[in-house]
């Protein structure tokens, strides 16, 4: 019987770069931010050079990985649909690229920006 082949993953940076490209094109996503448990209220967008702090890649010993995105959403879009679509597209494209080794994608809506 065929065995699923686990490919060696590229670096976290490469995965995060890909996630950034995909999520930036998702409708309703206006930016990325860094999660900070001390912050209560509005989150500020990350600058381009710090953008990857809003995308956390975790790798597991069994060759799988997961992704957490901390995003800022556009004003007056339907939040549930926007988050769901972003999660769907990121996961789909990551699994296509990396042989279904993406374990899960979490998208956290941190703030809404005008």
């Amino acid at each position: 019987m065929e065995k699923k082949v686990i490919k060696k993953l590229p670096s976290s940076k490469e995965i995060a770069d890909m996630v950034y490209e995909i999520a930036s094109a998702c409708y309703g996503i206006k930016g990325f931010t860094r999660f900070d448990s001390q912050i209560i209220g509005k989150y500020e967008p990350l600058s381009l050079k710090d953008i990857k702090k809003g995308i956390i890649v975790r790798k597991y010993a069994n060759g799988l990985f997961s992704v957490d995105l901390y995003v800022l959403l556009a004003d007056e879009v339907k939040l549930t649909e926007t988050l769901s679509e972003c999660q769907k597209v990121v996961r789909y494209k990551l699994n296509k690229q990396y042989n279904n080794q993406c374990r899960h994608v979490n998208v956290y809506a941190m703030s809404v920006v005008k």
Partner: protein
């Protein structure tokens, strides 16, 4: 026409929404991924319908108020990516009409321009070759080509003509469209809306006709007058005596009611000792009767064609009142400590869920999109202290999560199942004696153990993942990727299984669709048992539409 006011705009919006409804299956078929469950048309349709409902009873002549109300309806009812973008286009459109009672052709152009501006603002990197391009290019064309002599009708004609040209260019901008040989589905949906709006200006507004898809390969669209949903189908009433136990299945009223609710509406079920009285409106009385006969024998039966009754009433004919077999209203669902709610897509799947203790079923699957309101209704009907929901589709998880957050009960949990097979596996792990947290943990763990696969047919020629697929060929999908194709669905299933099963596999669950007859099902079962004799096998008739086979490997 030189100006339009609120009432004209209302007619335009409603006509646009109706035209989109009449064409949404064609728009769904343009979806890039060649699985016949594309939802762009349906999502845009649901979004526009939400907007239309908001303005249906408004009599404002103020164009700004109508546009604002419509926009709010779109925002609340937005479904999917295409629905969200549509809501933003018309949100900007409404902003462009702010403070105005009526507008001329320049005002119309300015409003569309504002719509484009707002729509583009809601994304970091807009993707060209989509609905965004179509609305931008058509709006820009209108702005550049109108003059003081242009009528409103002519302006909308110009908008539509350029939108169509823009749509034809979308494959040049988006490689995936060119690869599969289609234009952008969102753009096509927008054109359907614009064309409906133009019909209203011409004095022939679009009405909804029945976009019924009895056969996904050959969708049937009934022309003619629209009909009220309640008057369509068969009014089916019967009284049956339960048993005898030696040959009939044991009767569980809750499960029986759940299954019948998935097959019809206006349901009343009353039990009096070993007599059960049923009243239901259904499109398929035969399946209702076949199901019921598993539990007893009929004492009285009556089936009336409500469609014919409606026609007779409409033509002024006398209609005989039917004998009142309707029993007393069902007593309220007794309060219970636990309830499981699942989204299902076939009556066989309904039964499977019922067997494992799922008592509430929400209609769903790939071609429908149950809303948060549907889940809220199911939560309320469940009448339980602790509730677990299985969405069974990645598109539905969000709606279920939103419903769980909106309801007053804090003990409503969503198990994020993405397929029917995942949901079945997870639901089986439910333990009424464990805590909610333990149950949730066990059920989530069960999701990860299931590899899901589907066999269905391609709706167009396409090249994808290195496979060359012809229209109507069967395709095997594993974890959302097409991995095999062929002309024989049975062979495609066997190839798919060979890719899904590993050395660690121990169980195969197979649900056969409505297009699979008993002999094929037996043949497939025999093959699996012979070739995978080390594994446990469960083959059932799911009767789901669109997918010949749904497979789960654990």
């Amino acid at each position: 026409m030189r100006t339009i006011n609120g009432q004209t705009l209302k007619d335009m919006f409603i006509s646009g929404s109706n035209n989109l409804y009449n064409h949404y299956p064609e728009i769904d078929a343009l979806n890039v991924f060649p699985v016949p469950d594309g939802d762009t048309g349906m999502n845009m349709n649901l979004t526009m319908t939400s907007g239309s409902k908001e303005i249906q009873n408004r009599n404002d002549t103020n164009i700004s108020e109508i546009a604002k109300t419509f926009s709010r309806g779109l925002l609340m009812g937005a479904r999917g990516n295409s629905g969200v973008i549509t809501s933003q286009i018309f949100r900007g459109f409404a902003q462009g009409l702010e403070g105005k009672a009526e507008i001329d052709v320049q005002g119309l152009s300015d409003a569309f321009e504002k719509g484009v501006e707002v729509a583009y603002k809601a994304v970091i990197k807009p993707v060209e070759g989509t609905i965004l391009t179509v609305v931008r290019e058509s709006s820009a064309y209108l702005k550049d080509n109108l003059n003081k002599a242009t009528s409103i009708e002519k302006a909308v004609d110009m908008l539509i003509e350029e939108a169509k040209r823009s749509l034809e260019r979308t494959p040049d901008l988006l490689p995936i469209l060119k690869e599969v040989g289609v234009v952008d589905s969102g753009g096509a949906g927008l054109i359907a809306i614009f064309e409906g709006m133009k019909r209203a200006l011409d004095g022939t507004p679009c009405e909804r006709v029945m976009a019924t898809e009895n056969d996904p390969k050959n969708p049937i669209v009934a022309a003619g007058a629209s009909m009220e949903e309640e008057e369509f189908g068969y009014c089916t009433e019967f009284i049956m005596e339960l048993g005898p136990d030696s040959v009939k299945k044991p009767f569980n009223q809750k499960r029986f009611t759940s299954v019948l609710l998935s097959r019809g509406n206006s349901l009343v079920v009353v039990r009096d000792d070993n007599i059960v009285k049923v009243h239901v409106h259904t499109l398929n009385p035969g399946t209702v009767l076949n199901y019921a006969q598993q539990f007893g024998e009929f004492l009285k039966l009556k089936i009336e064609n409500m469609t014919e009754q409606h026609h007779a009433l409409a033509s002024g004919a006398q209609v005989e009142e039917h004998t009142d077999l309707v029993p007393e209203p069902e007593k309220e669902q007794p309060h219970q400590p636990f309830a499981l709610i699942a989204v299902s897509s076939g009556d066989g799947i309904d039964e499977f869920f019922n067997e494992i203790g799922v008592t509430e079923l929400v209609k769903g699957g790939q071609t429908m999109n149950p809303s948060s309101e549907d889940f809220l209704a199911a939560i309320k009907h469940a009448n339980a202290d602790n509730i677990f929901i299985f969405p069974n589709n990645s598109n539905i998880v969000m709606a279920a999560t939103q419903a769980a957050e909106m309801c007053e009960n804090d003990n409503v949990y969503v198990v994020p199942s993405k397929t029917i097979l995942q949901g079945l596996s997870a639901a089986m792990m439910f333990n009424p004696e464990a805590s909610n947290e333990d149950n949730l943990e066990e059920m989530k763990a069960a999701l990860k153990n299931v590899t899901s696969g589907e066999v269905t047919f391609s709706i167009r020629d396409t090249e994808i993942n290195g496979l060359s697929i012809k229209k109507d060929e069967f395709i095997g999908i594993m974890n959302k990727d097409i991995v095999v194709n062929g002309t024989d669905k049975k062979e495609v299933l066997f190839s798919l299984l060979s890719k899904m099963i590993t050395d660690e596999s121990s169980l195969i669950t197979l649900l056969c669709g409505e297009d699979v007859d008993d002999s094929l099902m037996e043949e497939v079962q025999a093959y699996i048992e012979e070739n995978y004799s080390d594994l446990d096998v469960d083959v059932r008739k799911g009767n789901q539409p669109v997918y010949s086979f749904l497979v789960g490997v654990e």
